[in-house]
């Protein structure tokens, strides 16, 4: 079973929730798809010894064959190519590796070569399997890395069926790639006007999938709670509500797992997990 943990913005607690759920479920897999700033591995003290590079295909030009017809330059949807003074120019940070330029070139001057955009790592620490993706700074998209992280053929531990997918923030294509194939989605939101707006964005995304979902309200304080109101209005089950707690902030800042450090939090995550299972079974 695959549980995707997502939110409309960063900093709501996706990693905190994912790491703790993985911790309380022995032999589960924690998958960090937030390739731009993966930090779940820090909680597990993962050593990342095995780094498997992820490559994409970018075009290269044989200038002897190129006659400057501009077919490739004009075809590129991303405007990643230019041609000036008999020189073909690739902007590799803008290229989205679609390969169309190599197809449209009438002189067959363009071919594809590998370019590394980052890597992923996997290992088992204590009772948790950890997979993390790392996108090189300045690269345009971590999607190829996310695809590798979610490709079971890359990993031996197939027998294990419980995955916690820590998604990138927002509702972009990288999130869509991470949520694809999930059996349940947990929407993490802060109890503010800003938080409820972001909850709405991610709710609109998840409605497109035919999977059950629920919300988790994090850092809840006394007073108004627009995210709670949003859930009530839209009939989103609230599976847990975690109060704002400076002790929790301290535990997180030390890179510790709350459910491991504090029995109260172990209980909270145990209850959350039971609620998720009930929703999945509905």
């Amino acid at each position: 079973m695959k549980i995707a943990i997502l939110s409309g913005k960063g900093g709501t607690g996706k990693t905190f929730i994912s790491v703790n759920l993985a911790h309380i479920n022995k032999d589960s897999i924690y998958i960090d798809c937030d390739t731009e700033e993966p930090n779940g591995h820090l909680y597990f003290k993962s050593k990342r010894e095995k780094k498997i590079p992820v490559n994409v295909k970018i075009p290269t030009c044989n200038q002897d064959l190129c006659d400057g017809c501009l077919e490739c330059v004009n075809f590129c949807r991303y405007n990643a190519l230019a041609y000036a003074n008999n020189k073909w120019i690739l902007f590799d940070k803008i290229c989205h590796w679609c390969g169309a330029c190599t197809i449209v070139c009438p002189k067959k001057a363009l071919t594809e070569i590998d370019k590394s955009i980052g890597y992923y790592s996997h290992e088992k620490v204590d009772q948790t399997y950890i997979r993390s993706g790392f996108l090189n700074p300045t690269e345009v998209s971590g999607i190829p890395i996310i695809q590798e992280l979610l490709n079971e053929d890359n990993f031996k531990n197939k027998a294990n069926t419980l995955n916690f997918i820590d998604c990138p923030p927002g509702s972009s294509c990288a999130v869509i790639e991470s949520v694809k194939g999930a059996d349940f989605a947990l929407l993490v939101a802060e109890p503010s006007t800003f938080g409820s707006h972001n909850l709405e964005m991610v709710h609109n995304l998840i409605k497109l999938y035919n999977i059950p979902y629920g919300a988790l309200l994090n850092k809840v304080t006394k007073g108004e709670n627009p995210s709670y109101d949003y859930c009530s209005k839209n009939k989103i089950p609230i599976l847990a509500s975690i109060d704002f707690d400076p002790k929790l902030a301290y535990i997180n800042s030390q890179g510790l797992i709350a459910a491991k450090e504090d029995p109260r939090y172990f209980k909270i995550f145990e209850n959350l997990w039971e609620s998720i299972l009930k929703e999945v079974a509905k």
Binding site: C76, Y78, N79, A84, N85, I94
Partner: protein, 120 residues
């Protein structure tokens, strides 16, 4: 020789457009005949890489000089590859900028910004 200037309007007395890659038009001014035309910027509504596409259009137009307030590094790379010199625009009309270049009163643009796109 041809000069290109990003333009807000198809009017020689209108100001220089603040953006290079997202300008609606370019004034193409030919000093050999003192003739001019306004061309649509094909890159104005591009999702990304507008500077590259706009610069490519000016390379294709066989422009030798560009007068602009600013240029991103990708646009500048294409313009420079096409041996196009980039000059810093004055806060004056398009035609006054053409005149200023003719009189050698413009400075070359040395500050190339890293772009406003989310990459880098």
């Amino acid at each position: 020789m041809k000069i290109a200037i990003p333009a807000e309007k198809k009017d020689l007395n209108s100001p220089v457009c603040l953006s290079f890659g997202r300008a609606p038009f370019y004034l193409i001014y030919d000093t050999s005949s003192d003739s001019h035309e306004f061309v649509d910027n094909e890159a104005m509504k591009a999702q990304g890489g507008a500077g590259i596409k706009a610069a490519q259009q000016l390379v294709n137009e066989k422009v030798l000089f560009v007068i602009t307030f600013r240029a991103g590094e990708n646009a500048a790379q294409v313009l420079q590859a096409g041996n196009i010199k980039i000059y810093k625009a004055l806060e004056k009309s398009l035609i006054e900028n053409v005149q200023a270049l003719k009189e050698n009163k413009l400075e070359e643009l040395t500050e190339i910004h890293a772009g406003f796109h989310h990459v880098e």
